[in-house]
């Protein structure tokens, strides 16, 4: 199952895109879509861990409402501060998981992934942080290292 999963996923995704593009669910069109999906070249991929994949997908979907909340906070908040943080990767050996992680982090307006660091073990993230109050922040922070 784990070995078949990449094939099933790519084929299902391509077939779904084909159906959306043609807006036609007749049997012949589905057959053509399936043939196209199978004939297009595929990247050689390692077996996918299903549980980690579902978790990454769920977190990516949750990032969408979170992105809107952050956008609202960014719009109503005062001028934010920039900083660089890092976050551990889920599994940097599986490209799909890295893609979902990068998507989840970059989608939200407060964080953008800059790249991988530490030999692929951590993401380098550029983040915004809202200042609490003008009194608490005397603007002498200087550049972050």
């Amino acid at each position: 199952m784990r070995r078949l999963l990449p094939l099933l996923l790519t084929t299902a995704f391509r077939l779904a895109v084909w159906c959306l593009l043609t807006a036609d669910l007749s049997r012949l069109n589905l057959l053509i879509g399936l043939v196209v999906a199978l004939l297009l070249p595929r990247a050689h991929s390692r077996p996918l861990p299903l549980r980690a994949l579902l978790r990454a997908l769920g977190r990516s979907l949750l990032a969408v409402p979170q992105a809107y909340l952050e956008a609202l906070r960014l719009i109503v908040g005062r001028e934010p501060q920039e900083e660089e943080i890092s976050e551990a990767t889920t599994d940097s050996t599986i490209p799909l998981l890295v893609f979902l992680d990068v998507f989840r982090i970059t989608l939200t307006p407060f964080t953008i992934v800059l790249g991988l660091e530490d030999g692929g073990r951590r993401y380098r993230i550029h983040a915004l942080r809202l200042r609490r109050s003008p009194a608490a922040d005397p603007a002498t922070g200087g550049p972050t290292p």
Binding site: L21, L74, V102, T106, L107, I112, V113, L128
Partner: protein
Amino acid sequence: MTLASFADHASLLLLGAGLLLWFWGTWPLLESRSYLSKLHALSVADTLGSVLMLLGLLLRIPGQWPLLVLALLALILWNTIFGYVLANCSLASRREPEP
């Protein structure tokens, strides 16, 4: 209120909100801010604003839903990943001066 007029009003609201996010995110591009903070603002405008507009269009012309859903998916994925690509490129140019 009938369902059709409700959809009409809701779509207007979504289109308006999308336009608002667009303008809010485009304004920082004209200011002298750091490259990356412009990218943060742009992700609000480009991705989130455009998604709201497409949802508004979805309510307005439901007959075209397959293409609109495809556009929605492509927009979210491409915009977000392009943001990452641009951020990553800025990292490369920042490292260049070092020996």
